[in-house]
Amino acid sequence: MALRIDQDHNRFRQIVRGRIKRDLKKYITHSELIGRRGKNLVSIPLPQIDIPHFTFSPHQRTGVGQGEGEVGTVLGSGEPQDGTGKAGDAPGAHILEVDVTLEELARILGEELELPDIQNRGTKNIASDKDRYTGIARSGPESLRHFRRTYQQALKRQIAANLYDPTNPKIIPIREDRRYRSWKVSKQPQSNAAIIYMMDVSGSMGDEQKEIVRIESFWIDTWLRSQYKGIDVRYIIHDAEAHEVDEETFFHTRESGGTVISSAYKLSEQLIQKHYPPGEWNLYLFHFSDGDNWSQGDTEECVQLLRERLLAAVNLFCYGQVESPYGTGQFLVDLKDVFKDEEKVVLSQIENKEAIYSSIKEFLGKGK
């Protein structure tokens, strides 16, 4: 049943959406949202969508309470509420937490950054069969017998046949009474996109650089998830050697040592070969580094790997270069030289957190 309030509620959601959109840049550059991601929802703290009034300054406000305690006792960290006035006098109370689905957030991101929808490349939408127990059948294995339905049938039959004695209610099911749970097979679209994140964790990548990578990959994730049903994500870190790691390690490891970028590209090539046959998968490679490769020779190897192996397999290869005080940033220059006209290669320089916004746009703006 539709409620009258739905209209007002939708209007409110619209306003919220507008606010998020307006402040999206701010949200994008803050890592706060990442911690607030639930399974399907992000809870976004919005500063007071509120109608201002003339009201008392919360910090000069005094009040009356009830309970134990000497003079000077602290009343907990939250603000006391007098209960007689309006709730929420303290500044904290005006923060509104709005839950937005990741999907909606992605839509807002898409609208604001004018991201085109991705043209699905994997011609096969892999579907897997999934069993769902939704029906009832007259035959089946005993392990699936539906006790209540069986009982019901027996009861019905006995009443109909006048075998039922309310003073001595004995119900004896016979063969025909038995009911079994039955299942339907439904096609479930399966994840058909995979992202491989690679990050340079050599000594020159500091916490700030990693923070940038973390934020940027959160938004990339959000966007790609909205474009595909289910997504596989892999993480590779590398210094002089590359390892596949879990998400936690990816963002929090700090290693030191040299940088051999080709090691990561080799590893991702192996991953692709093993798990993601290119015909069936939309593949995205993101690589973040400060651009300081070990040797020119390795850079050449990277270029070769990309050109001969990786590019054919992927939708997009994105290289984000994070500015660091130690890096020379040469790698970006080299890639630019070679892949000027290559559509599948996107290169972006991310000087600081503010640049994340435009970098996302560069990465995803092609609709691939």
Binding site: I15, T55, V74
Partner: protein, 496 residues
């Protein structure tokens, strides 16, 4: 939807019990709602139909979430209307429904008999629906965003009413001197040499001053400060008809809700007092006692450091009943300094019940606390005052002295806990600008909100607007001219 038979029976029962205690109420119509509908009605402030506005949607979002996470559940909701409408939550237990019904009948009695409600519109359900129709019509005509923006402006100012206005008969305007001539005080006739005695110069001087003052006032607009700022705006701001209509709708609703704010402690205390009487003395059956106790204790539970109006009101009514039953009031009792005698004091007056009925007729929270909060009560219930400590960034207990507690409590209840703000001058600096004045009583305004509200005010008044206030012990005037905010210091004397 009419009540199922079981509940209808119950209603008849509870109604009988309520009558038997001489509660005198409007007819109450109960409706059974599921939680979604309940949340909806609650978001609309209890009314089935309100004008469309996003803030109701925001309220709904909060309720929905609160309900989904099990943080809050609305048990009872009742509208001051004749007949009263009250809502029951479908999934509540029977014993809960009983409590709610008993509670609601007491509210209805309070609405009907408390004099602070005597001027409220008792057909408000219809009126609210009419308001909705008006607003929808404006929306159709001028567009959602335009109307919504305007409502936002009005809501920003909705507090600025004079909650006592319904009870005051204003004197008709005195005629004032039209000419610019300066009036001189009349002299009594006298012989020259007697003149200084019959018309003493000091007296004449005084009279002259008074006349000048009157003349100055009569040139002022408004002559006296106006507390009902919304009214002033409706009458004098350059508004289009539909805008005027919306502003007066907001104002009317603000006045309708004001008495509920003024009597929160009493009203809830009264209802809680009666539901516990009715339940424990009449309506409970043995099997329900545990559930009742659980529910009731939830209603009167006080979190450490807070004040629960249900609890405070209930305890005050019980205390008063006890005092008037035993005669523990008046100068004889007060001046008795023998603690033993005081504790055993009993005059067997049995006037308690009568007294609380009288109180529910004549008092509001401010007068109620002022008159019936005693030192013994404050100590027994461990009341204290708290304040924000800038150093530690936390609220701390500051005082357990009775006078301080009472002063704070009254301050907190005065004008519904809102700052008092008057229109001081509608032709400020003789330029058609508007000057409001905040009557500072120790607490500053919240600065960012004050600025934002001032900007909203300017959108109504169209000319520059000013607000006189005090911040950090310095007088200042905040101004907004439509483009930018400015701030000027003024001496505190001129503010006072």
């Amino acid at each position: 939807m009419s009540l199922p038979r079981e509940l209808a029976e119950l209603q008849k029962q509870i109604l009988g019990y309520a009558r038997s205690y001489n509660l005198d109420f409007y007819e109450v119509i109960f409706e059974l709602l599921d939680y979604r509908k309940m949340n909806e009605v609650a978001s609309y402030g209890g009314f089935p139909c309100r004008y469309p506005h996003w803030r109701f949607g925001m309220e709904y979002e909060h309720m929905k979430k609160g309900y989904a996470y099990g943080l809050q559940k609305i048990y009872e909701m009742v509208i001051n209307n004749d007949p009263c409408y009250a809502y029951l939550l479908e999934c509540n237990q029977l014993v809960d429904q009983k409590i709610v019904m008993a509670h609601v009948y007491a509210h209805s009695d309070f609405f009907k008999n408390n004099m602070w409600f005597s001027h409220t519109n008792r057909k408000m359900v219809d009126e609210m629906a009419n308001h909705a129709t008006h607003v929808r019509r404006h929306i159709d005509r001028y567009g959602l965003e335009v109307v919504e923006d305007f409502i936002d402006l009005c809501l920003s100012l909705e507090d600025l009413i004079d909650i006592h206005a319904p009870f005051i008969r204003r004197e008709p305007k005195r005629g004032f001197a039209k000419s610019d001539e300066r009036l001189a005080p009349k002299k009594l006739r006298s012989k020259d040499y007697m003149n200084d005695y019959i018309n003493p110069p000091e007296f004449l001087e005084q009279q002259q001053q008074r006349l000048d003052e009157d003349a100055r006032k009569s040139r002022c607009f408004p002559e006296e400060p106006v507390k009902d700022v919304l009214r002033f705006l409706t009458d004098h701001a350059p508004l289009e008809d539909w805008q005027q209509n919306i502003l007066s709708i907001i104002r009317e609703e603000a006045y309708y809700y004001a008495p509920q704010g003024q009597t929160k402690i009493m009203n809830e205390g009264w209802a809680t007092y009666w539901h516990s009487k009715i339940m424990t003395e009449r309506a409970l059956c043995d099997a329900e006692i545990i559930d009742y106790a659980d529910h009731h204790s939830g209603t009167v539970a006080t979190q450490p450091g807070r004040l629960n109006p249900y609890k405070l009101g209930l305890e005050l009514f019980k205390d008063i009943e006890e005092r008037w039953n035993t005669g523990r009031f008046g100068s004889e009792y007060d001046s008795c300094d023998d603690l033993k005698r005081k504790l055993a004091w009993n005059r067997n007056l049995d006037q308690g019940r009568e007294k609380i009925f009288e109180i529910r007729r004549f008092h509001n929270d401010v007068t109620f606390i002022d008159e019936f909060l005693t030192e013994e009560f404050a100590a027994r219930h461990k009341l204290f005052t708290y304040a924000y400590n800038r150093k530690s960034g936390a609220y701390q207990i500051t005082n357990r002295g009775f006078l301080e507690i009472k002063r704070r409590l009254l301050q907190q209840l005065t004008n519904l806990g809102r700052p008092i703000i008057h229109v001081r001058d509608g032709n400020y600096e003789n330029r058609g600008e508007l000057l409001l004045k905040h009557l500072h009583e120790g607490v500053d305004l919240r600065d960012d909100y004050a600025r934002a509200t001032l900007q909203n005010l300017q959108k109504l008044w169209k000319r520059p607007v000013h607000l006189e206030t005090v911040a950090e012990e310095k007088g200042k005037i905040l101004s907004f001219n439509g483009k930018e905010l400015s701030e000027a210091e003024v001496s505190v004397e001129s503010i006072a």
